[in-house]
C-alpha cells in the first residue's frame, strides 16, 4: 500500500508539474508574427511571398533533398511545436516522415484537420491521378495524383491564394496586408510568366526524359513532352534492361535532353546521354536546390535558363 501511495504521489507530482509547465509555456495570444512551418521550401517561398514581414516561415526539408525521404529528426519537432500554421504539399508526398513529427510535436494547432494545418494540394491542378486499380507493382505510386505540382506558375498563383486566405483567417487584422501582398505577387508572377513563356516558346512540343516523374506540371504548362523516365517505376532505381529500352526510345523519338533532380546519382543519366548524344540537365525541382535560388521566381528563372540552353544545344 505504501508503495502504491508512493507511485500515486510520483504520478500526481508529474501531472502537477506538467500542468504548471503548461501554464508557464502557454504562448501569449496575439501581438506576435504568425509562425509558419512548411514541409518543403517551395511552400515556404510561396508563403513568404504573401506573408511578407507579418510572418516568419521555415521549411523542414531542404531544397536539394529528396522530399520523399526526409528523416523525421527531433530537431524538426522544435520547429513544429511552436508553429501556428503548417503548410504541406500533401498527396502523400510526406507520408514517410511528416506524420510521426505531427504526432509527437504536442502542438494541437497543427494536427491534421486543425485550423493550422493546410494541405496546399487542394488549391492546385493535380495531374496523373491513377485510374483503375492501384498496386505497388507500379512502384512508389501516389494514389491521389502526382505530388510534384508546384512547378507550374498557375499552380503557384493558386497555392498563394489559398495560403493568403489561410493567413487572413488566422490573423484577421492583417488580412488586408496579405491581400495586398497577394495582388503584388500575382502581378509580378503574370509579368514573369510572360517572359518565361516567350523564352520557352521556341521549344514547344520538344521531347525530354526525366529521372523521376516530378516534371508533369512544368511540362504541361510549357508544352514539353516527357516521353520516359530513367527510373523504371517511380522510386525504383534504374535497371540495365530499362536503361537500354530508354536509350532505344530516345533514339527513336530523337529526344536528347535528360532532366535529373539534384538528389539522384548521375551515373545512369550520363551513360544514357553518351549513348544518345544527349545532354544531362540537373534541374531544380525546389527552391533552395542551389544557393542562389532563393524564391519562387528564381526557381523558374534557373530551370528555364538551363533547359532552354540544353534544348537549343541539342536542336
Amino acid at each position: 500500500m505504501k508503495r502504491m501511495l508512493r507511485h500515486c504521489r510520483l504520478l500526481s507530482m508529474l501531472v502537477a508539474g506538467a500542468l504548471m509547465w503548461a501554464g508557464l509555456t502557454a504562448p501569449p495570444a496575439e501581438a506576435k508574427k504568425l509562425n509558419v512551418v512548411t514541409s518543403t521550401t517551395d511552400m515556404a517561398a510561396l508563403t513568404q511571398e504573401v506573408g511578407g514581414d507579418k510572418i516568419t516561415v521555415e521549411a523542414i526539408a531542404k531544397g536539394y533533398q529528396d522530399p520523399h525521404f526526409v528523416e523525421a529528426k527531433p530537431s524538426f519537432l522544435l520547429k513544429l511545436r511552436n508553429a501556428d500554421l503548417l503548410v504541406v504539399v500533401g498527396l502523400q508526398l510526406e507520408i514517410g516522415w511528416l506524420p510521426p513529427l505531427i504526432n509527437q510535436c504536442g502542438n494541437a494547432r497543427v494536427q491534421v484537420g486543425a485550423p493550422g494545418y493546410l494541405d496546399a494540394s487542394q488549391f492546385a491542378e493535380i495531374l496523373e491521378k491513377p485510374t483503375g486499380e492501384v498496386t505497388r507493382a507500379m512502384g512508389d505510386v501516389h494514389p491521389l495524383g502526382n505530388p510534384h505540382y508546384w512547378l507550374d506558375p498557375d499552380n503557384g498563383r493558386r497555392i498563394a491564394r489559398g495560403i493568403a486566405a489561410k493567413l487572413s483567417e488566422l490573423d484577421p487584422p492583417d488580412a488586408p496586408y496579405f491581400q495586398q501582398q497577394l495582388q503584388d505577387f500575382e502581378k509580378r508572377l503574370a509579368a514573369a510568366e510572360q517572359k518565361w513563356e516567350a523564352e520557352m516558346k521556341p521549344y514547344r512540343g520538344r521531347k525530354v526524359v526525366t529521372y523521376h516523374n516530378s516534371f508533369p506540371n512544368f511540362a504541361k504548362h510549357f508544352d514539353l513532352n516527357v516521353i520516359g523516365y530513367v527510373e523504371p517505376r517511380p522510386g525504383i532505381p534504374p535497371t540495365p534492361s530499362h536503361t537500354i529500352e530508354l536509350i532505344g526510345l530516345m533514339k527513336r523519338e530523337n529526344c536528347k535532353v535528360i532532366l535529373v533532380e539534384p538528389y539522384f546519382d548521375l551515373k545512369t543519366p550520363n551513360s544514357v546521354a553518351s549513348n544518345t548524344g544527349g545532354k544531362v540537365v540537373v534541374y531544380l525541382p525546389s527552391v533552395g536546390g542551389e544557393k542562389q535560388v532563393t524564391n519562387y521566381f528564381q526557381l523558374f528563372d534557373y530551370d528555364i535558363d538551363l533547359l532552354t540552353k540544353a534544348l537549343q544545344a541539342t536542336q
Binding site: 533533398q65 523525421a72 530537431s75 522544435l78 494541437a108 491534421v112 494540394s121
Partner: protein
C-alpha cells in the same frame, strides 16, 4: 459536397459554352483576351472545386457521402448534362438499384490505415540447447511474425495505433494505444499497451531493427524479443533547452508485467520507465542522439518456476544509449551511416543474493548503395539471474532493399556462451510490407 460537384459540373458546362461562343465571335483581340481571362478564371475555380472535393473525400467523409458516391453525379459522363436533371437523379437515388461498390468506396474513407508486415526467418548452423536463457533461438524456417497495423486519427484530439502480432500460431497484442495529440502545453500522452521508452532497441518493432535478432543484452537483461511491452500510461514533454538541443522527457507507469524482467502480483506492483533524450544536429547531415533510461519493477520469476516470487523483490534497470547518424542530404538515398550503442545495468533482487549484471552492444551500419547496407554488431552481457555468467557474441550483416516495401537480410551470428559453448549461426530474413504502414518515429 453535393453542391460542390454540381457547381463543378455547371462550371464545366459554362466553360464549354464560352469556348463555343468564342469560336463564333468576331475576332477582336480585346474580346479574345477578355474571354481568355474569363476561361482562366473559370479554370481556377474549377481546380479549386476539384481540390475541395478531393480534400473532402480524403479527410472527412461524412455519412452523407455514402449516398453521393452511389449516384453517377461524380462520373465524367454526367458532366455535360445540365445541372437540374442530375439533381433529380440525386434525390431519386433511393429508387435506383443500390450501387454496392460505390457505397463501400465512400465507407472506406473512414477505415483506418491497414498494413501487414511479414517477417520470414530461416536459420542454419548449430544452436546449443542450454538449460539457461540463450540468445534468441530460430528454427530452420519460421514465419516469425505477421504484424497487422491498424492506424487512424480518432478525433481532433487523438489518434489510435494497433499493432497485432501473429506468430505461426497464437496472437499477441504487441501495441495498442491512444495518443492524445492536442493536450495543452505541448504534452503528448498515451494510454494502452505499448513498447516502453526504455532505451532504443526496446522501442523498435522487429521489422525496423537493423538486425534479424535482438542484441544479447536485450535477451539477457531486458525481457528478450518483447522487452518491456506492457499496459500503462505515458506522458512526454519537450523540455526547454539551449538553442539547437532537443531535450525530451518521458515518464511511464505500467502494470508491471514484462517477460522475465518484471512481474506484478498485486495491483500496487506497478513498474515505471523514465527516459531522457538529448538530441543535437551536429551538422546538416550528422546528428547525435543520447538517451538515459531508468526502470523499476517487481522481479519476475525464473521462467518455468511454479511458486511465484514474493513481490518484495525489486529489479532496477539503468540504461544509456547513444546513436550517431550521418546522411548527406544531397545523396541521402545512396549513403548513410549509423553507429549505435546501448549500455544496460540490471540490479535484481531475488532469493539469495542481489544480482548486479551489466551488458552492452555496439553496432554500425553503412549504406553503400541505394539498396545495399553492411552492418556489424558486438555483444556482451551478464545474465540477469546469474550475474557471474557472461555471454559474448558478434554478428555481420548484409541487407538488400528491392524497394521501400521489402527487404532481404543475411546475418552471420557467433555467440560464446558463459558455459564455454560456441554457436555459429547463419540467419536469413525476408521482410515484406503490404498496405499503408505509418512511418515510425526517428
Amino acid at each position: 459536397m453535393r453542391n460542390l460537384i454540381l457547381g463543378a459540373i455547371a462550371l464545366v458546362a459554362l466553360a464549354g459554352a464560352l469556348m463555343a461562343q468564342q469560336a463564333s465571335m468576331p475576332e477582336t483581340s480585346a474580346d479574345t483576351a477578355a474571354l481568355q481571362q474569363k476561361i482562366r478564371d473559370l479554370e481556377d475555380r474549377l481546380i479549386a472545386l476539384e481540390g475541395q472535393v478531393r480534400l473532402l473525400k480524403s479527410t472527412q467523409a461524412t455519412p452523407a457521402a455514402t449516398t453521393e458516391a452511389g449516384t453517377p453525379a461524380g462520373s465524367p459522363a454526367a458532366a455535360p448534362t445540365p445541372a437540374a436533371p442530375v439533381a433529380t437523379s440525386v434525390t431519386s437515388g433511393g429508387e435506383q438499384l443500390p450501387v454496392y461498390g460505390g457505397a463501400s468506396a465512400a465507407a472506406k474513407a473512414l477505415n483506418p490505415d491497414i498494413s501487414v508486415i511479414g517477417d520470414f526467418i530461416g536459420a542454419a548452423g548449430n544452436s546449443p540447447s542450454l538449460p539457461l536463457a540463450i540468445q534468441q533461438p530460430f528454427q530452420s524456417f519460421q514465419m516469425h511474425e505477421s504484424e497487422l497495423g491498424l492506424q487512424a486519427i480518432i478525433d481532433p484530439y487523438a489518434r489510435g495505433d494497433f499493432f497485432i502480432s501473429f506468430g505461426e500460431e497464437g496472437v499477441d497484442l504487441e501495441e495498442g494505444y491512444i495518443t492524445f495529440t492536442a493536450l495543452p502545453g505541448n504534452f503528448v500522452a498515451k494510454a494502452g499497451k505499448m513498447r516502453s521508452a526504455f532505451g532504443k532497441v526496446n522501442t523498435l518493432h522487429n521489422h525496423v531493427l537493423p538486425w534479424i535478432d535482438r542484441p544479447l543484452v536485450t535477451t539477457n537483461l531486458v525481457g528478450g524479443e518483447d522487452g518491456i511491452d506492457d499496459a500503462g500510461v505515458s506522458l512526454e514533454h519537450i523540455l526547454p533547452a539551449p538553442k539547437g538541443f532537443f531535450v525530451d522527457l518521458t515518464g511511464q507507469v505500467f502494470r508491471g508485467d514484462a517477460g522475465d524482467v518484471f512481474h506484478a502480483v498485486n495491483r500496487s506492483d506497478v513498474s515505471t520507465v523514465d527516459h531522457l533524450r538529448v538530441y543535437k544536429d551536429v551538422t546538416e547531415s550528422t546528428n547525435l542522439d543520447v538517451g538515459f533510461s531508468y526502470s523499476r519493477g517487481h522481479s519476475a520469476d525464473k521462467p518455468g518456476s511454479i511458486i511465484p516470487l514474493n513481490s518484495d523483490f525489486i529489479t532496477n534497470l539503468y540504461g544509456v544509449d547513444a546513436t550517431l547518424r550521418w546522411k548527406p542530404l544531397r545523396r541521402s538515398i545512396y549513403h548513410s551511416f549509423v553507429a549505435r550503442s546501448e549500455l544496460i545495468w540490471s540490479q535484481r533482487q531475488q532469493p539469495g543474493a542481489e544480482q548486479r549484471a551489466f551488458g552492452f552492444y555496439t553496432s554500425a551500419d553503412y549504406q553503400f548503395g541505394r539498396r545495399w547496407f553492411l552492418g556489424a554488431r558486438y555483444d556482451r552481457s551478464d545474465r540477469a539471474q546469474f550475474a557471474n555468467l557472461t555471454d559474448t557474441g558478434g554478428s555481420v550483416l548484409l541487407t538488400y532493399w528491392p524497394s521501400e516495401f521489402s527487404q532481404i537480410r543475411g546475418q552471420y551470428r557467433f555467440t560464446r556462451y558463459a558455459e564455454n559453448i560456441d554457436a555459429h549461426e547463419l540467419l536469413m530474413q525476408v521482410i515484406f510490407s503490404l498496405g499503408a504502414h505509418g512511418a515510425h518515429p526517428f
